[in-house]
Protein backbone atom coordinates (compact mmCIF):
# COMPACT_ATOMS: atom_id res chain seq x y z
CA UNK A 1 0.00 0.00 0.00
CA UNK A 2 1.36 3.39 -0.85
CA UNK A 3 0.56 6.58 0.90
CA UNK A 4 0.20 9.55 -1.37
CA UNK A 5 1.74 12.96 -0.80
CA UNK A 6 0.38 14.51 2.35
CA UNK A 7 -1.40 17.27 0.48
CA UNK A 8 -3.50 14.67 -1.33
CA UNK A 9 -5.31 14.01 1.89
CA UNK A 10 -6.46 17.58 2.11
CA UNK A 11 -9.35 19.31 0.53
CA UNK A 12 -7.98 21.24 -2.44
CA UNK A 13 -9.92 24.30 -1.26
CA UNK A 14 -8.15 24.30 2.12
CA UNK A 15 -4.85 23.31 0.59
CA UNK A 16 -4.97 26.27 -1.78
CA UNK A 17 -5.33 28.81 1.03
CA UNK A 18 -1.87 30.27 1.64
CA UNK A 19 -0.53 30.30 5.21
CA UNK A 20 -1.12 33.52 7.10
CA UNK A 21 1.47 36.25 6.49
CA UNK A 22 1.06 37.32 10.08
CA UNK A 23 1.91 33.85 11.31
CA UNK A 24 5.42 34.14 9.85
CA UNK A 25 6.08 37.31 11.82
CA UNK A 26 4.67 35.79 14.92
CA UNK A 27 7.08 32.86 14.65
CA UNK A 28 10.01 35.18 14.02
CA UNK A 29 9.16 37.56 16.88
CA UNK A 30 8.41 34.71 19.22
CA UNK A 31 12.00 33.44 19.03
CA UNK A 32 13.49 36.78 20.03
CA UNK A 33 13.93 38.39 23.40
CA UNK A 34 13.12 41.91 24.60
CA UNK A 35 10.71 42.42 21.75
CA UNK A 36 8.53 45.49 21.93
CA UNK A 37 5.44 44.56 20.02
CA UNK A 38 3.26 46.96 18.11
CA UNK A 39 1.98 43.94 16.27
CA UNK A 40 -0.87 42.90 18.49
CA UNK A 41 -4.42 43.18 17.23
CA UNK A 42 -6.13 43.29 20.60
CA UNK A 43 -6.58 45.69 23.51
CA UNK A 44 -3.84 45.88 26.12
CA UNK A 45 -6.42 46.08 28.88
CA UNK A 46 -7.49 43.05 30.82
CA UNK A 47 -11.31 42.73 30.76
CA UNK A 48 -12.73 45.26 33.26
CA UNK A 49 -13.13 43.70 36.68
CA UNK A 50 -16.89 44.17 36.96
CA UNK A 51 -17.31 42.03 33.84
CA UNK A 52 -14.99 39.31 35.11
CA UNK A 53 -16.71 39.42 38.46
CA UNK A 54 -20.13 39.04 36.83
CA UNK A 55 -18.85 35.97 35.01
CA UNK A 56 -17.51 34.48 38.26
CA UNK A 57 -20.90 35.05 39.81
CA UNK A 58 -22.55 33.33 36.84
CA UNK A 59 -20.27 30.34 37.33
CA UNK A 60 -21.10 30.24 41.03
CA UNK A 61 -24.78 30.11 40.16
CA UNK A 62 -24.15 27.26 37.75
CA UNK A 63 -24.41 28.95 34.35
CA UNK A 64 -22.42 26.19 32.72
CA UNK A 65 -24.94 24.65 30.34
CA UNK A 66 -25.77 25.23 26.69
CA UNK A 67 -27.87 28.27 26.01
CA UNK A 68 -30.43 28.45 23.22
CA UNK A 69 -28.72 28.34 19.83
CA UNK A 70 -29.46 31.99 19.21
CA UNK A 71 -27.95 33.01 22.56
CA UNK A 72 -29.39 34.05 25.92
CA UNK A 73 -32.58 36.00 25.25
CA UNK A 74 -31.50 38.71 27.75
CA UNK A 75 -28.25 39.10 25.84
CA UNK A 76 -30.06 39.34 22.49
CA UNK A 77 -32.18 42.09 24.02
CA UNK A 78 -29.14 43.86 25.42
CA UNK A 79 -27.51 43.70 21.98
CA UNK A 80 -30.49 45.23 20.19
CA UNK A 81 -30.78 47.94 22.87
CA UNK A 82 -27.07 48.66 22.45
CA UNK A 83 -27.35 48.84 18.64
CA UNK A 84 -30.02 51.54 18.99
CA UNK A 85 -27.15 53.92 19.82
CA UNK A 86 -25.97 53.44 16.24
CA UNK A 87 -29.47 54.03 14.86
CA UNK A 88 -29.91 50.32 14.18
CA UNK A 89 -33.25 48.75 15.02
CA UNK A 90 -33.53 44.98 15.29
CA UNK A 91 -35.94 42.49 16.78
CA UNK A 92 -34.07 40.54 19.48
CA UNK A 93 -36.20 37.43 18.92
CA UNK A 94 -35.58 37.09 15.19
CA UNK A 95 -32.91 39.42 13.86
CA UNK A 96 -29.96 38.78 16.20
CA UNK A 97 -27.60 35.85 16.68
CA UNK A 98 -24.90 35.50 19.35
CA UNK A 99 -21.77 33.89 17.92
CA UNK A 100 -18.37 32.59 18.97
CA UNK A 101 -16.63 35.91 18.40
CA UNK A 102 -17.22 38.21 15.46
CA UNK A 103 -15.14 35.72 13.45
CA UNK A 104 -17.84 33.06 13.56
CA UNK A 105 -20.44 35.60 12.48
CA UNK A 106 -18.34 36.45 9.40
CA UNK A 107 -17.98 32.79 8.52
CA UNK A 108 -21.69 32.10 9.04
CA UNK A 109 -22.78 35.10 7.02
CA UNK A 110 -20.62 34.11 4.07
CA UNK A 111 -21.70 30.48 4.23
CA UNK A 112 -25.34 31.49 4.43
CA UNK A 113 -25.07 33.80 1.44
CA UNK A 114 -22.65 32.48 -1.18
CA UNK A 115 -21.99 29.37 -3.21
CA UNK A 116 -19.59 28.45 -6.06
CA UNK A 117 -19.93 30.94 -8.87
CA UNK A 118 -20.66 33.88 -6.61
CA UNK A 119 -18.20 36.71 -6.27
CA UNK A 120 -17.38 38.32 -2.92
CA UNK A 121 -16.04 41.85 -3.13
CA UNK A 122 -13.44 42.59 -0.48
CA UNK A 123 -12.02 46.10 -0.24
CA UNK A 124 -8.40 45.95 0.93
CA UNK A 125 -6.16 46.37 2.76
CA UNK A 126 -8.35 44.74 5.36
CA UNK A 127 -8.57 42.17 8.12
CA UNK A 128 -7.24 38.81 7.01
CA UNK A 129 -10.21 36.49 7.64
CA UNK A 130 -12.72 37.52 4.99
CA UNK A 131 -10.86 36.06 2.03
CA UNK A 132 -10.31 32.55 3.46
CA UNK A 133 -13.89 32.42 4.77
CA UNK A 134 -15.24 33.39 1.34
CA UNK A 135 -13.01 30.78 -0.33
CA UNK A 136 -14.09 28.11 2.16
CA UNK A 137 -17.69 28.96 1.31
CA UNK A 138 -16.82 28.22 -2.32
CA UNK A 139 -17.00 31.78 -3.61
CA UNK A 140 -14.57 33.67 -5.78
CA UNK A 141 -12.86 36.64 -4.16
CA UNK A 142 -12.57 39.96 -5.97
CA UNK A 143 -10.20 42.49 -4.44
CA UNK A 144 -11.43 46.05 -4.45
CA UNK A 145 -8.51 48.42 -3.94
CA UNK A 146 -8.61 51.35 -1.54
CA UNK A 147 -5.86 53.91 -1.79
CA UNK A 148 -3.69 56.00 0.51
CA UNK A 149 -4.73 59.17 -1.32
CA UNK A 150 -8.32 58.51 -0.19
CA UNK A 151 -7.09 57.70 3.32
CA UNK A 152 -8.03 54.13 2.45
CA UNK A 153 -11.73 54.88 2.26
CA UNK A 154 -13.70 52.79 -0.19
CA UNK A 155 -15.00 54.85 -3.11
CA UNK A 156 -18.07 54.08 -5.19
CA UNK A 157 -15.95 54.32 -8.36
CA UNK A 158 -13.48 51.68 -7.18
CA UNK A 159 -16.34 49.42 -6.14
CA UNK A 160 -18.30 49.97 -9.35
CA UNK A 161 -15.22 49.04 -11.40
CA UNK A 162 -15.09 45.60 -9.75
CA UNK A 163 -18.78 44.68 -9.87
CA UNK A 164 -19.80 41.96 -12.33
CA UNK A 165 -23.04 40.06 -12.86
CA UNK A 166 -21.67 37.40 -10.49
CA UNK A 167 -21.03 39.86 -7.63
CA UNK A 168 -23.12 38.92 -4.65
CA UNK A 169 -21.60 40.11 -1.39
CA UNK A 170 -19.56 43.13 -0.34
CA UNK A 171 -17.56 42.85 2.89
CA UNK A 172 -16.96 46.14 4.68
CA UNK A 173 -14.68 46.61 7.68
CA UNK A 174 -14.88 50.16 9.03
CA UNK A 175 -13.34 51.42 11.27
CA UNK A 176 -10.70 49.47 9.43
CA UNK A 177 -8.04 47.09 10.56
CA UNK A 178 -5.23 47.77 9.52
CA UNK A 179 -5.57 51.34 8.17
CA UNK A 180 -7.68 52.99 10.88
CA UNK A 181 -9.88 54.43 8.11
CA UNK A 182 -13.51 55.18 8.81
CA UNK A 183 -16.43 55.79 6.47
CA UNK A 184 -18.72 58.74 7.12
CA UNK A 185 -22.43 58.52 6.54
CA UNK A 186 -21.95 60.33 3.20
CA UNK A 187 -19.16 57.95 2.15
CA UNK A 188 -21.43 55.03 2.96
CA UNK A 189 -24.40 56.52 1.11
CA UNK A 190 -22.38 56.39 -2.13
CA UNK A 191 -21.53 52.74 -1.47
CA UNK A 192 -25.15 51.95 -0.58
CA UNK A 193 -26.24 53.35 -3.94
CA UNK A 194 -23.92 50.92 -5.75
CA UNK A 195 -25.06 48.03 -3.53
CA UNK A 196 -28.71 48.70 -4.27
CA UNK A 197 -28.14 49.25 -8.00
CA UNK A 198 -26.37 45.90 -8.34
CA UNK A 199 -28.38 44.01 -5.72
CA UNK A 200 -25.32 43.37 -3.54
CA UNK A 201 -25.63 42.06 -0.03
CA UNK A 202 -23.33 43.71 2.52
CA UNK A 203 -21.54 42.07 5.43
CA UNK A 204 -20.46 44.98 7.59
CA UNK A 205 -17.87 44.10 10.21
CA UNK A 206 -18.22 46.87 12.79
CA UNK A 207 -16.11 45.35 15.55
CA UNK A 208 -14.24 48.65 16.01
CA UNK A 209 -17.41 50.79 16.04
CA UNK A 210 -16.74 52.06 19.55
CA UNK A 211 -13.20 53.04 18.73
CA UNK A 212 -13.68 56.20 16.71
CA UNK A 213 -12.01 59.47 17.55
CA UNK A 214 -13.82 62.74 17.14
CA UNK A 215 -16.84 61.28 15.35
CA UNK A 216 -19.61 58.80 15.97
CA UNK A 217 -19.46 55.55 13.99
CA UNK A 218 -21.93 55.34 11.11
CA UNK A 219 -23.35 51.98 10.06
CA UNK A 220 -24.33 51.30 6.46
CA UNK A 221 -27.30 49.29 7.76
CA UNK A 222 -28.80 52.51 9.15
CA UNK A 223 -29.11 54.00 5.64
CA UNK A 224 -32.43 53.85 3.78
CA UNK A 225 -32.94 50.55 1.96
CA UNK A 226 -29.88 48.94 3.51
CA UNK A 227 -31.14 47.14 6.58
CA UNK A 228 -32.72 44.40 4.46
CA UNK A 229 -29.48 43.79 2.57
CA UNK A 230 -26.92 44.08 5.37
CA UNK A 231 -25.63 41.79 8.08
CA UNK A 232 -23.96 43.82 10.82
CA UNK A 233 -21.22 41.82 12.49
CA UNK A 234 -19.68 42.90 15.75
CA UNK A 235 -18.61 41.65 19.13
CA UNK A 236 -17.36 42.51 22.57
CA UNK A 237 -13.66 41.89 21.92
CA UNK A 238 -12.36 45.32 21.04
CA UNK A 239 -14.67 47.76 22.80
CA UNK A 240 -14.79 45.89 26.11
CA UNK A 241 -11.36 44.23 26.00
CA UNK A 242 -12.92 40.77 25.84
CA UNK A 243 -10.99 39.03 23.06
CA UNK A 244 -10.53 35.71 24.84
CA UNK A 245 -14.20 35.37 25.78
CA UNK A 246 -15.18 34.77 22.17
CA UNK A 247 -18.51 36.57 22.15
CA UNK A 248 -19.66 38.22 18.96
CA UNK A 249 -22.96 38.71 17.24
CA UNK A 250 -24.70 39.29 13.94
CA UNK A 251 -27.79 41.38 13.29
CA UNK A 252 -29.70 41.47 10.06
CA UNK A 253 -32.82 40.49 8.15
CA UNK A 254 -34.68 37.51 9.61
CA UNK A 255 -34.17 35.15 6.65
CA UNK A 256 -30.40 35.52 6.60
CA UNK A 257 -30.07 35.37 10.39
CA UNK A 258 -32.20 32.19 10.37
CA UNK A 259 -29.94 30.64 7.73
CA UNK A 260 -26.89 31.58 9.80
CA UNK A 261 -28.55 30.16 12.90
CA UNK A 262 -29.03 26.88 11.04
CA UNK A 263 -25.29 26.59 10.34
CA UNK A 264 -24.42 27.82 13.84
CA UNK A 265 -26.59 25.24 15.58
CA UNK A 266 -24.88 22.38 13.76
CA UNK A 267 -21.32 23.69 14.02
CA UNK A 268 -21.05 25.58 17.31
CA UNK A 269 -24.36 24.92 19.02
CA UNK A 270 -24.07 28.09 21.06
CA UNK A 271 -21.55 30.64 22.24
CA UNK A 272 -20.00 29.91 25.67
CA UNK A 273 -22.59 30.53 28.37
CA UNK A 274 -20.28 32.15 30.95
CA UNK A 275 -18.99 34.42 28.20
CA UNK A 276 -22.55 35.39 27.33
CA UNK A 277 -23.19 36.31 30.96
CA UNK A 278 -20.04 38.45 30.91
CA UNK A 279 -21.19 40.09 27.67
CA UNK A 280 -24.53 40.90 29.23
CA UNK A 281 -22.77 42.70 32.08
CA UNK A 282 -20.51 44.55 29.62
CA UNK A 283 -23.38 45.78 27.46
CA UNK A 284 -25.57 46.82 30.37
CA UNK A 285 -22.99 48.31 32.77
CA UNK A 286 -19.77 48.67 30.82
CA UNK A 287 -20.04 52.14 29.34
CA UNK A 288 -17.85 53.93 31.86
CA UNK A 289 -14.95 51.50 31.59
CA UNK A 290 -15.30 51.39 27.81
CA UNK A 291 -15.15 55.19 27.58
CA UNK A 292 -12.07 55.21 29.80
CA UNK A 293 -10.34 52.72 27.49
CA UNK A 294 -11.32 54.61 24.34
CA UNK A 295 -9.97 57.87 25.82
CA UNK A 296 -6.73 56.09 26.56
CA UNK A 297 -6.40 54.79 22.97
CA UNK A 298 -7.08 58.30 21.70
CA UNK A 299 -4.17 59.77 23.70
CA UNK A 300 -1.80 57.06 22.51
CA UNK A 301 -3.00 57.53 18.94
CA UNK A 302 -1.73 61.10 19.05
CA UNK A 303 1.57 59.94 20.51
CA UNK A 304 2.27 57.35 17.83
CA UNK A 305 1.12 59.48 14.88
CA UNK A 306 3.32 62.37 16.06
CA UNK A 307 6.24 60.03 16.51
CA UNK A 308 6.09 58.64 12.97
CA UNK A 309 5.65 62.02 11.34
CA UNK A 310 8.60 63.41 13.29
CA UNK A 311 10.89 60.65 12.11
CA UNK A 312 9.92 61.30 8.50
CA UNK A 313 7.42 58.49 7.92
CA UNK A 314 4.15 60.06 6.79
CA UNK A 315 1.35 58.86 9.01
CA UNK A 316 -2.21 60.03 8.60
CA UNK A 317 -4.18 60.36 11.77
CA UNK A 318 -6.30 57.21 11.92
CA UNK A 319 -9.92 58.02 12.74
CA UNK A 320 -10.80 54.63 14.17
CA UNK A 321 -9.61 51.27 15.57
CA UNK A 322 -6.22 51.22 17.33
CA UNK A 323 -3.77 51.03 14.47
CA UNK A 324 -1.48 53.57 12.88
CA UNK A 325 -0.59 52.81 9.27
CA UNK A 326 2.54 54.83 8.44
CA UNK A 327 3.86 55.09 4.89
CA UNK A 328 7.37 53.62 4.55
CA UNK A 329 7.69 53.96 0.78
CA UNK A 330 10.34 56.70 1.07
CA UNK A 331 12.71 54.18 2.67
CA UNK A 332 12.80 52.32 -0.64
CA UNK A 333 12.08 49.03 1.13
CA UNK A 334 9.16 46.67 0.75
CA UNK A 335 6.88 46.27 3.75
CA UNK A 336 8.09 42.71 4.33
CA UNK A 337 11.78 43.65 4.15
CA UNK A 338 11.27 46.68 6.34
CA UNK A 339 9.44 44.76 9.03
CA UNK A 340 11.83 41.86 9.02
CA UNK A 341 14.91 44.09 9.24
CA UNK A 342 13.24 46.22 11.92
CA UNK A 343 12.50 43.16 13.98
CA UNK A 344 15.94 41.62 13.60
CA UNK A 345 17.89 44.82 14.18
CA UNK A 346 15.78 46.60 16.80
CA UNK A 347 13.45 43.94 18.23
CA UNK A 348 10.37 45.99 17.40
CA UNK A 349 7.53 43.92 15.94
CA UNK A 350 5.11 45.55 13.51
CA UNK A 351 3.05 43.96 10.74
CA UNK A 352 3.77 44.51 7.03
CA UNK A 353 0.84 46.21 5.30
CA UNK A 354 0.79 43.88 2.30
CA UNK A 355 -0.46 40.95 4.40
CA UNK A 356 -3.76 42.83 4.50
CA UNK A 357 -3.98 43.30 0.73
CA UNK A 358 -1.90 44.45 -2.22
CA UNK A 359 -2.48 48.19 -1.72
CA UNK A 360 -1.16 47.85 1.82
CA UNK A 361 2.31 47.43 0.30
CA UNK A 362 4.56 50.30 1.37
CA UNK A 363 2.83 50.62 4.74
CA UNK A 364 3.20 49.00 8.14
CA UNK A 365 0.54 48.36 10.75
CA UNK A 366 1.44 49.53 14.24
CA UNK A 367 -0.95 48.91 17.08
CA UNK A 368 -1.05 51.61 19.73
CA UNK A 369 -2.89 49.37 22.16
CA UNK A 370 0.24 49.23 24.27
CA UNK A 371 1.60 51.36 27.10
CA UNK A 372 2.86 54.91 26.58
CA UNK A 373 6.32 53.81 27.75
CA UNK A 374 6.41 50.94 25.25
CA UNK A 375 5.20 53.16 22.42
CA UNK A 376 7.87 55.76 23.21
CA UNK A 377 10.59 53.12 23.42
CA UNK A 378 9.44 51.54 20.14
CA UNK A 379 9.32 54.91 18.37
CA UNK A 380 12.86 55.66 19.51
CA UNK A 381 14.12 52.36 18.13
CA UNK A 382 12.23 52.77 14.84
CA UNK A 383 13.55 56.34 14.43
CA UNK A 384 17.14 55.15 14.83
CA UNK A 385 16.51 52.32 12.37
CA UNK A 386 14.99 54.66 9.80
CA UNK A 387 17.86 57.16 10.23
CA UNK A 388 20.33 54.50 9.26
CA UNK A 389 18.41 53.82 6.05
CA UNK A 390 18.83 57.35 4.73
Amino acid sequence: MTIGARSHRLSPVVDAIPPSGIRRFFDLANQMENVISLGVGEPDFVTPWHIREASLYALERGFTTYTSNRGLPELCEAITAYLEDFELHYDPAEEVLVTVGGSEAIDLALRALVCPGDEVLIPGPTYVSYRPCALLAGATVVDVPTYPEDNFRLTAEALEACVTSASKVLVLCYPNNPTGAIMTSDDLAAIAEVAIAHDLFVISDEIYAELTYGSQHASIAALPGMKERTIVVSGLSKAFAMTGWRIGYAAGPEDVISAMLKVHQYTSLCAPSMGQMAALEALTHGKEEKDRMVASYDRRRRLIVDGFNQMGLTCHSPQGAFYAFPDIRNTGMSSQDFCEALLRETQVAVVPGDVFGATGEGFIRCSYATSVQQIEAALERIAKFVDRLW
Binding site: F26, N30, V40, D44, S129, N177, L303, V372
Partner: protein, 164 residues
Protein backbone atom coordinates in the same frame (compact mmCIF):
# COMPACT_ATOMS: atom_id res chain seq x y z
CA UNK B 1 -5.81 75.69 28.52
CA UNK B 2 -9.36 74.36 28.29
CA UNK B 3 -10.81 72.83 31.44
CA UNK B 4 -11.25 69.42 29.79
CA UNK B 5 -7.60 69.30 28.78
CA UNK B 6 -6.49 70.55 32.16
CA UNK B 7 -8.43 67.75 33.86
CA UNK B 8 -6.94 65.21 31.47
CA UNK B 9 -3.49 66.58 32.19
CA UNK B 10 -4.06 66.23 35.93
CA UNK B 11 -5.34 62.68 35.57
CA UNK B 12 -2.28 61.72 33.56
CA UNK B 13 0.06 63.32 36.10
CA UNK B 14 -1.76 61.63 38.96
CA UNK B 15 -1.00 58.28 37.32
CA UNK B 16 2.56 59.03 36.24
CA UNK B 17 4.16 62.33 37.22
CA UNK B 18 7.33 61.46 35.33
CA UNK B 19 5.78 61.84 31.88
CA UNK B 20 7.73 64.53 30.05
CA UNK B 21 5.97 67.76 29.13
CA UNK B 22 6.55 66.84 25.48
CA UNK B 23 4.76 63.51 25.93
CA UNK B 24 1.99 65.09 27.99
CA UNK B 25 1.46 67.70 25.26
CA UNK B 26 1.07 65.00 22.61
CA UNK B 27 -1.20 62.86 24.76
CA UNK B 28 -3.65 65.66 25.50
CA UNK B 29 -3.27 67.20 22.05
CA UNK B 30 -1.68 70.57 22.82
CA UNK B 31 1.73 72.28 22.72
CA UNK B 32 4.60 71.70 25.10
CA UNK B 33 4.60 75.39 26.07
CA UNK B 34 0.94 75.21 26.97
CA UNK B 35 1.50 72.18 29.18
CA UNK B 36 4.43 73.88 30.91
CA UNK B 37 2.38 76.96 31.58
CA UNK B 38 -0.63 74.99 32.79
CA UNK B 39 1.52 72.94 35.17
CA UNK B 40 3.15 76.12 36.50
CA UNK B 41 -0.23 77.66 37.17
CA UNK B 42 -1.58 74.50 38.78
CA UNK B 43 1.44 74.42 41.05
CA UNK B 44 1.00 78.08 41.98
CA UNK B 45 -2.67 77.56 42.72
CA UNK B 46 -1.74 74.59 44.90
CA UNK B 47 -3.83 72.28 42.76
CA UNK B 48 -0.68 70.23 42.21
CA UNK B 49 0.83 69.88 45.67
CA UNK B 50 3.62 67.40 45.24
CA UNK B 51 5.05 64.81 42.84
CA UNK B 52 5.41 61.64 44.84
CA UNK B 53 6.07 57.95 44.34
CA UNK B 54 4.08 54.90 45.37
CA UNK B 55 6.51 52.55 47.09
CA UNK B 56 6.03 49.03 48.39
CA UNK B 57 7.95 49.56 51.64
CA UNK B 58 7.53 45.92 52.57
CA UNK B 59 10.06 45.06 49.90
CA UNK B 60 12.82 47.15 51.46
CA UNK B 61 14.19 46.25 54.83
CA UNK B 62 12.86 49.28 56.70
CA UNK B 63 10.58 48.35 59.54
CA UNK B 64 7.50 50.56 59.39
CA UNK B 65 4.19 50.21 61.12
CA UNK B 66 1.05 51.94 59.99
CA UNK B 67 -2.09 52.47 62.03
CA UNK B 68 -5.47 53.92 61.21
CA UNK B 69 -6.90 55.72 64.20
CA UNK B 70 -10.52 56.69 64.55
CA UNK B 71 -10.85 59.78 66.66
CA UNK B 72 -13.97 61.18 68.29
CA UNK B 73 -13.70 64.84 69.10
CA UNK B 74 -15.85 67.57 70.58
CA UNK B 75 -16.05 70.27 67.92
CA UNK B 76 -15.11 73.75 69.06
CA UNK B 77 -17.22 76.83 68.71
CA UNK B 78 -16.50 78.87 65.56
CA UNK B 79 -13.71 76.64 64.23
CA UNK B 80 -15.58 73.31 64.33
CA UNK B 81 -13.27 70.39 63.62
CA UNK B 82 -10.58 72.35 61.80
CA UNK B 83 -8.60 73.53 64.81
CA UNK B 84 -8.40 70.05 66.30
CA UNK B 85 -7.56 68.54 62.92
CA UNK B 86 -4.70 71.01 62.61
CA UNK B 87 -3.33 70.13 66.01
CA UNK B 88 -3.25 66.53 64.84
CA UNK B 89 -1.98 66.88 61.29
CA UNK B 90 0.99 69.04 62.29
CA UNK B 91 2.66 65.99 63.81
CA UNK B 92 5.10 64.60 61.22
CA UNK B 93 4.22 60.98 62.04
CA UNK B 94 0.65 61.69 60.88
CA UNK B 95 0.36 60.77 57.19
CA UNK B 96 -3.27 61.68 56.58
CA UNK B 97 -6.25 63.17 58.35
CA UNK B 98 -9.83 62.99 57.06
CA UNK B 99 -13.05 64.29 58.52
CA UNK B 100 -15.53 61.45 58.19
CA UNK B 101 -19.25 60.92 58.31
CA UNK B 102 -20.53 58.17 60.61
CA UNK B 103 -19.78 57.25 64.20
CA UNK B 104 -16.31 58.75 64.39
CA UNK B 105 -15.14 62.19 63.39
CA UNK B 106 -11.54 62.10 62.25
CA UNK B 107 -9.66 59.29 60.61
CA UNK B 108 -5.94 59.63 61.16
CA UNK B 109 -3.21 57.53 59.54
CA UNK B 110 0.01 57.34 61.51
CA UNK B 111 3.34 55.80 60.61
CA UNK B 112 5.99 54.73 63.06
CA UNK B 113 9.04 52.51 63.30
CA UNK B 114 7.28 49.96 65.55
CA UNK B 115 4.15 49.29 67.60
CA UNK B 116 5.57 51.06 70.62
CA UNK B 117 6.23 54.24 68.71
CA UNK B 118 2.63 54.39 67.57
CA UNK B 119 1.27 53.49 71.00
CA UNK B 120 3.35 56.28 72.49
CA UNK B 121 2.06 58.74 69.91
CA UNK B 122 -1.54 57.83 70.62
CA UNK B 123 -1.33 57.81 74.40
CA UNK B 124 0.99 60.75 74.86
CA UNK B 125 0.15 63.09 72.01
CA UNK B 126 -3.17 62.29 70.36
CA UNK B 127 -5.35 61.23 73.29
CA UNK B 128 -4.17 64.13 75.41
CA UNK B 129 -5.23 66.84 72.98
CA UNK B 130 -8.00 68.93 74.44
CA UNK B 131 -11.44 67.99 73.03
CA UNK B 132 -10.24 64.58 71.79
CA UNK B 133 -12.90 62.39 73.30
CA UNK B 134 -11.74 58.90 72.35
CA UNK B 135 -9.43 57.00 69.99
CA UNK B 136 -9.59 53.54 68.43
CA UNK B 137 -6.36 52.31 66.90
CA UNK B 138 -6.26 49.72 64.08
CA UNK B 139 -2.86 48.42 63.00
CA UNK B 140 -2.44 47.75 59.32
CA UNK B 141 -1.42 44.17 58.52
CA UNK B 142 -0.96 44.17 54.77
CA UNK B 143 -1.24 46.63 51.92
CA UNK B 144 -2.97 45.30 48.80
CA UNK B 145 -3.68 48.50 46.95
CA UNK B 146 -2.77 52.12 47.49
CA UNK B 147 -3.31 55.26 45.42
CA UNK B 148 -4.98 53.09 42.78
CA UNK B 149 -1.93 50.84 42.45
CA UNK B 150 -2.28 47.10 43.09
CA UNK B 151 0.80 45.76 44.89
CA UNK B 152 2.08 42.49 43.44
CA UNK B 153 -0.28 42.70 40.49
CA UNK B 154 -0.07 39.47 38.53
CA UNK B 155 -1.99 40.66 35.50
CA UNK B 156 0.93 40.80 33.08
CA UNK B 157 0.57 41.24 29.37
CA UNK B 158 -0.38 37.76 28.22
CA UNK B 159 -1.09 38.65 24.61
CA UNK B 160 0.59 36.91 21.69
CA UNK B 161 3.48 38.93 20.24
CA UNK B 162 1.87 39.35 16.84
CA UNK B 163 -1.82 38.81 16.09
CA UNK B 164 -4.20 39.81 13.30
Amino acid sequence: MKDVKELELLRLLAMDSRLSTQTLATLVGTSQEEVEQAVRELEQKHVILRYSTVIDWEKVATPRVTAVIEVKVIPQREVGFDAIAERIYRFPEVRSVFLMSGGNDLQVTVEGSDLQAISRFVSEKLATIENVHSTTTHFMLKKYKEAGVIFDDHEDDRRLVVAP
